[in-house]
Amino acid sequence: MNQQSSPETILAVENISLSFGVMKVLDSISFDIRRGEIRSIIGPNGAGKSSMLNVINGFYHPQEGSITFKGETRKQMAPHVAANHGIARTFQNIALFKGMSTLDNIMTGRNLKMKTNLFWQALHIGPARVEELENREAAEKIIDFLGIQAIRKKPVGKLPYGLQKRVELGRALAAEPELLLLDEPMAGMNSEEKEDMCRFVLDVNSEFGTTIALIEHDMGVVMDLSDRVLVLDYGKQLADGVPDEVRNNQDVIDAYLGVPHEH
């Protein structure tokens, strides 16, 4: 949270419009994320929050607008470009490799850090082996950080929901991302699990200096964690600013509480 000292913009999206057929999902959205901040995106269901993350990491290709990441401007992202340049993410509906162990899931996060070719991999000797061990160490550090040593070897499909969310965060962290996209990391959690997850988000941000874009429904969490908040509603940009500004914005209050009918 050091945007005062270095207000460098890591990501800027400009006039992004995305539609599926006649459905306009995002309507000319512009905002930026500064290096080192926690940036929340909030809004009612169907506001276009997840679509926005999907645009940033290249799953969705917007019809209009541009995305500037680390100074490079593109019309649209591709998933492998995003991953290669340091964007990692988690998913709203957990997308883990269910048959694989916790450790293996986190190791897949290090996919791009590992470079040995198929030849060495197939023989499983020499450089491939050394590389495997080095990356294994990095994965173990993340497992320690998240306090999930006990489930290292368990297939993640069998883990309770809260732990699955944690493993998914671990997989994203394993890539050592510069920008981490979290899609409702606390959805469906009890208050204790939520507290844990909040702490991890803050620790990741402060210890690793990772920039975080966060989608979350729990207003308490959002207002506590975020440096700045973007509010979307029906694909339109409703407000953008520090938590206090957003909280007192009349449009936001209307969108969340409904507008009283005029007589």
Binding site: N84, F91, L96, F97, K98, G99, L118, R171, A175
Partner: protein, 298 residues
């Protein structure tokens, strides 16, 4: 007793042959969730190419094998380019139908390129009975079958390490589990598919060599794919060791059933035994012996 051992052993050896084909299915199913109907034809095509290179172009054996591997990798690349790439995120049944089409295309291509006559495949793999087994234990076993069993064992050990311990192996499993999540960690689906179809192509080549050496390279080879199906149901579609053990159980089971039960029901048990066993498994253990348990959270 000796007779029983001989029947069991010969069943195991036949089973190894089934396993080799089943292995190719497992690889592709594991990494892409596709049931590749063309696996049997791929074995045929590989064997045809090998014989063709040796006969028509007079390649020495080692060069013919390398040449065939190159052809199988090129084939994998073409399959990804022309077929899989356009079917991303489609229903499994659509992909299955596509491989059905692929089977016919490959069969036709094999026919046009190399002709449809039965060919002899002689790679210098020892033939005939193993004298040592015959002399010391009075048991009759084909040398070729021993050779096939050893080859299969080496291949399985190799694949198991590759899948469990390497980045590409993990990436293969990751792609099988969740396309989107795999993309988000920077795994390229296209590369993975080319790799896995190449490996399946090479496994098909080995299966083709073994079957071809045993009974000549002929088009009925593509039908052994059918026998691989009960093997897969037994072993589990996602398990490499399962394919091997499933193959052994089916091989041994049908031989024993044929020899000991055959006389009572008029024989020919060998033809349907595998399918009955598979049916029983579908009823009681649909994920097979070693398949990943089907976990659904509600």
């Amino acid at each position: 007793m000796l007779f029983f051992i001989e029947v069991t052993l010969s069943g195991m050896m036949a089973g190894v042959m089934y396993s080799l084909v089943a292995l190719g299915f497992v690889l592709i199913f594991k990494a892409s969730g596709i049931f590749n109907f063309a696996q049997g034809v791929m074995a045929l095509f590989a064997a045809l190419t090998l014989v063709g290179l040796m006969e028509k172009f007079n390649f020495p054996i080692w060069l013919a094998i390398i040449g065939t591997i190159v052809v199988m990798i090129a084939l994998a690349w073409l399959i990804e380019r022309i077929m899989l790439r356009h079917l991303v995120n489609q229903e499994p049944i659509i992909l299955f139908m596509a491989t059905l089409g692929l089977a016919y295309v490959l069969e036709g291509m094999g026919d046009i390129l190399w002709g449809s006559d039965v060919k002899v495949l002689d790679l210098g793999i020892p033939q005939g009975a193993s004298d040592w087994m015959l002399d010391s234990f009075d048991i009759y076993i084909e040398k070729l079958e021993i050779f096939a069993a050893v080859t299969a064992a080496i291949m399985v050990a190799f694949l198991a390490v590759f899948f469990q311990k390497t980045r590409i192996g993990r990436a293969l499993r990751a792609v099988a589990d969740d396309h989107q999540a795999a993309l988000s960690v920077g795994i390229s689906l296209h590369t993975i598919w080319v790799i896995v179809w190449s490996v399946a192509g090479i496994v098909a080549l080995v299966a083709g060599i073994m079957w071809g050496s045993k009974s000549g390279v002929q088009f009925s080879l593509s039908l052994i794919a059918l026998k691989a199906l009960p093997v897969l149901i037994l072993g589990g579609f996602t398990s490499v060791p399962g394919a091997i053990i499933g193959g052994l159980i089916i091989g041994v089971g049908e031989k024993i059933a044929e020899v000991y039960l055959g006389p009572f029901v008029g024989g020919a048990i060998e033809n349907w035994f595998a399918y009955m066993l598979a049916l029983a498994f579908l009823l009681f253990r649909p994920q097979g012996l070693f398949g990943e348990k089907i976990i659904e959270r509600v």
